[in-house]
């Protein structure tokens, strides 16, 4: 009897935790996108007002501790900047909550950054920022809608399973 009760509690706790985990992914995506936009704004400012070379800016950003900032740390030396950045992005994506859509925008950024003159770079950054802001707005409304739902559904699914198998 007690063993059954324990099993039931564990099932509900497990599915509930799964629900909270999925809900948290939605929130973390919003946070990561906000952080990413801040970083790209920083790159834009550094480029425009201080004309710092791109590798220096990237190294400075990569010193921060967040997973999104670590995306910009190029580990392999000797590669062209674009290839190195692209590789760093591809390796670091799994540590962030960013999804395919924003990943593609970032990969496009990695491909094009540092290949043209300053004015073109600014245009590129503006374009990337606009795209990311659009995604951020969408992900915010998505999170608002889904976080509560996923939390409830996790616990309810556990209760359903317990009822079904008890």
């Amino acid at each position: 009897m007690y063993l059954k009760l324990l099993g039931a509690c564990l099932t509900v706790a497990g599915t509930g935790a799964l629900g909270f985990y999925v809900g948290n992914r939605y929130l973390k995506r919003v946070q990561d996108l906000e952080k990413l936009i801040n970083i790209l704004n920083e790159i834009k400012t550094e480029m425009r007002y201080r004309t710092t070379p791109l590798p220096e800016i990237l190294a400075k950003i990569a010193n921060e501790e967040t997973a999104v900032a670590k995306l910009f740390s190029i580990k392999e030396r000797g590669l062209p900047l674009n290839t190195g950045l692209k590789k760093a992005f591809e390796e670091g994506f799994s540590k962030t909550a960013l999804l395919k859509r924003e990943q593609e925008v970032l990969l496009f950024f990695a491909e094009k950054v540092g290949t043209t003159d300053l004015k073109d770079q600014e245009n590129l950054l503006n374009y990337i920022l606009e795209q990311l802001k659009l995604i951020l707005t969408e992900s915010r409304s998505e999170a608002e809608k889904n976080v509560k739902l996923v939390n409830y559904l996790g616990v309810l699914a556990g209760a359903f399973l317990v009822l079904l198998f008890l």
Binding site: K145, N146, K148, L149, L153, L156, F160, L163, L164, L166
Partner: protein, 66 residues
């Protein structure tokens, strides 16, 4: 032999299905809400059909229909 337990089980599934339906409907996922309700109804129907089959076979034996 079906016991009183099955009635509580059916009631539980009913309550949970109603809650899931409400939660999904509030989140604007009406299609999924109806699917959840349908799933709940099918599960209960599955249990009830088994009990009904038992009932019919007992009636057959009582009235010596075979």
């Amino acid at each position: 032999m079906a016991s009183i337990e099955i009635i509580f089980k059916i009631a539980g599934v009913g309550i949970l299905t109603a809650v899931i339906h409400t939660v999904l409907k509030h989140a604007g996922k009406e299609e999924q809400a109806y699917m959840a309700t349908l799933a709940g109804v099918s599960i209960v129907l599955f249990w009830v059909i088994q009990i009904l089959a038992e009932l019919f076979s007992e009636i057959k034996t009582v009235f010596k229909l075979f």
